[in-house]
Amino acid sequence: MSTAAPHALADVTASDSTLRRFLHGLPGVDAVGLEARAASLGTRSIKTTAKAYAIDLAISMVDLTTLEGADTPGKVRALGAKAVRPDPTDRTAPATAAVCVYPDMVATAKAAVAGSPVKVASVATAFPAGRAPLAVKLADVREAVAAGADEIDMVIDRGAFLAGDYLKVHDEIVAVKEACGTAARLKVIFETGELSTYDNIRRASWLGMLAGADFIKTSTGKVAVNATPANTLLMLEAVRDFRAQTGVQIGVKPAGGIRTTKDAIKFLVVVNETVGEDWLDNHWFRFGASSLLNDLLMQRQKLATGRYSGPDYVTVD
């Protein structure tokens, strides 16, 4: 049933076996080498003007997220306000890229960021487990889109992926993409911590891109291991190679576990030296995070004033 993207690799998704052959024919990943490369990029020393640039860029890439059972309209409105104006004392601080909420909070969030460039992203497809019938997942997506979501963060069916049922995973992404229509960009979450191996992460990346993902995203933030420099590097290599083969550019979103400016800058260095400036823009790279933003703001204040800031000088959400 698949309706693959119209590019050089269209044949790949023609059948279960062609898809499997393609994914298993991708170059392997040597874990130690990958991690060593990520670690070595992590030793870059980003100072002064470069740091100021990186901090503002990072702020502009944050998908400011709240995904709690305890979320209320009040909480979401506060989040929206913070996304639009992260530092009430300094209007030069850029807005974040988006706020990221559950589907039932989309309308509230949309209202909170109205008139700003901040997008509303909604997780969907029975986030975070994804264990629901397809019809339920699609309904979830349609509700969110109808409520005004600009972006949909879906989770893949990790069970199907690990069982080797790649075409099922693919077709589900295609269906969700259809449900998004032209109104919403689709981010596909792999939950890399559950895929467990780097080879799987590379295969999932290609699977997601072949199925029409606009973004590939590491994690839900709900499992033990979320975004790491290594798995993000690997996914950046995938979008780089995918563009080289198809001409289609795909975004990348590491999510979960990125809490400090230092961490965020490491990720930006990985972006800079793996795919370059084409991805150094919040249209193509995002951080799924919540507490990160305050640390970025404190570091920003420090750069501006020369003294270390403290948690009382940034807002709690």
């Binding site: 080498g33 990958l34 030793t43 640039y53 990186a54 860029l57 690997l234 290599e237 800079n272 370059g276």
Partner: protein, 478 residues
């Protein structure tokens, strides 16, 4: 890859190291002038700034130093191994404590990036002393029979590419086994060895156990020829290694040589390509390619040649060449004008022989000795750049069709130091590793070093092993 994300300069502070305007020879625990008063200057290859003026040892100084080492040998070799061990542990710890200072010093004198001296050279130096310290009181269990004896005075000559690390590789096993040493650092990089003399002082090492004689080739020649030297260890060029082998011929001096190489880095079509690219880059651009075990020949399977070269060129474009003290520098300065001349002339030869030269856009600083990362494609086994050790940031790319052809080409050299294999197929790794005539084979990695891992070459890359239990043999009368 020009980018909006320009890294601001991030220089490591030079203030941490205090270089004296002049240094003497270190003989019998004292700094002393050369008998004939000769001195030479050591410069920073990144700026051509004179760093210090160094006493230049002559034959009379070699005599003095060997005599001091001989005198010290009796007591040092008679010390219980556990006591010798503690001196070496002290040295290891002091190296760790002073590692930032030593890293900055090494970067200044050698020209290699601070990233490397900080993250590779210095940690390995400390680890090497720590490793051999532990052997000093366990030699009975090393597989050389009960109570193996030291040889006596070791004359050691080291190169400029890893000055302090090569010193550690020489001195740590020598002292652990009860020998005393006279060491000649390279003329372009004497400073870290002289700082090491100060570490010996801080560690309370008995006088004469370690003697440091800066100088040129003639100093080294006098040292290896000295009749009262019992052991000669040399790391450097194959040409000099052959001369030394001739010099010690007919004597009882035990000889180990760690010489040149022309390592093949073999990439099969099922390689983990992204990691292979990193391995290739690390293999030939680590330390500006001034590494005896560099993977200076890339052997790539024809079916992935285009893909691999595209990735490699893209990756080379991200290398940052410049101030070695900048923490973000990937490629530092070439160590000396002489070496730069050699690299330049070999590269010109490669071009004139018809190989295709490529370098990323790369601005070279105006002062100092610099060479841009360089690739040669359309290279065959017959090209000079595929046969001669260039000892610079220059990679020759050759292709192959089958594993047999890869092995045949890899082995088709008088050298035999290192090789790399990139494939996801385990049996292929084992089969190819087995057939390669090289002392170190890195599979799905490259340029990894560890004090526990024996290092050394086949064929004209020298003989003897440094590191591990194997490294003890060179300093024991066995």
């Amino acid at each position: 890859m020009a980018s909006a994300f320009e890294y601001a300069p991030a220089p490591e502070s030079r203030a941490i190291v205090d270089i004296a305007p002049s240094y003497g020879l270190f003989i019998d625990g004292e700094f002393t002038e050369a008998a004939d008063g000769r001195v030479f200057k050591t410069v920073s290859p990144a700026s051509e700034e004179v760093l210090s003026e160094i006493a230049q040892a002559g034959e009379a100084d070699v005599d003095r130093a060997v005599l001091a080492a001989r005198k010290a040998f009796e007591k040092w070799s008679a010390l219980p191994g556990a006591e010798r061990a503690k001196y070496l542990f002290r040295i290891a710890r002091i190296v760790q404590e002073r590692s930032r200072e030593l890293a900055v010093l090494e970067t200044l004198d050698n020209g290699k990036p601070i990233k490397e001296t900080r993250d590779a050279d210095l940690p390995l130096v400390a680890a090497h002393f720590f490793y051999y310290a532990g052997w000093a009181d366990k030699l009975d269990h090393a597989g050389f029979g009960a109570n193996p004896r030291p040889l006596g005075v070791a004359g050691q000559v080291i190169p400029w590419n890893f000055p302090l690390l090569m010193l550690a590789w020489k001195i740590a096993p020598a002292l652990a086994t009860g020998n005393t040493v006279v060491l000649k650092p390279a003329e372009t990089t004497p400073l870290s060895a002289l700082f090491f003399a100060d570490i010996c002082r801080q560690a309370g090492l008995p006088k004469g156990v370690v003697n440091i004689l800066p100088g040129y080739g003639d100093t080294g020649a006098a040292l290896v020829a000295h009749p009262d030297v019992n052991k000669v260890a040399f790391t450097g060029s194959t040409a000099v290694g052959k001369e030394i082998a001739k010099t010690v011929a007919g004597s009882r001096k035990k000889l180990t040589l760690e010489l040149g190489g022309k390592g093949a880095n073999i990439v099969f079509d099922d390689a983990p390509i992204d990691q292979a690219v990193e391995g290739i880059v690390n293999g030939i651009f680590f330390n500006q390619g001034q590494v005896c075990c560099a993977g200076s020949r890339l052997l790539v399977q024809e079916s992935v040649q285009d893909e691999l070269l595209d990735s490699l060129k893209r990756r080379l474009s991200t290398l940052r060449l410049g101030d070695p003290l900048d923490k973000n520098t990937d490629i530092g300065a070439i160590n000396s004008e002489e070496q730069l001349t050699r690299i330049t002339s070999l590269v010109e030869r490669g071009e004139s022989e018809g190989a295709e030269r490529w370098s990323p856009a790369c601005e070279l600083p105006s002062a100092g000795y610099w060479f841009a990362p360089t690739l040669f494609t359309n290279v065959t086994q017959a090209h000079t750049v595929a046969r001669d050790e260039i000892f610079g940031p220059v990679l020759s790319v050759l292709t192959f069709r089958t594993p047999d052809e890869a092995v045949a080409k890899a082995n088709n050299t008088p050298y035999g130091l290192s090789a790399g294999i990139w494939t996801e197929k385990g049996s292929r790794i084992l089969a190819v590793a087995n057939k390669l005539r090289a002392g170190v084979v890195w599979s799905n990695t490259f340029n990894k070093f560890d004090p526990a891992s024996p290092f050394g070459g086949y064929k004209e890359s020298g003989f003897g092993r440094e590191g591990g239990r194997h490294g003890l043999e060179a300093y024991l009368d066995v």
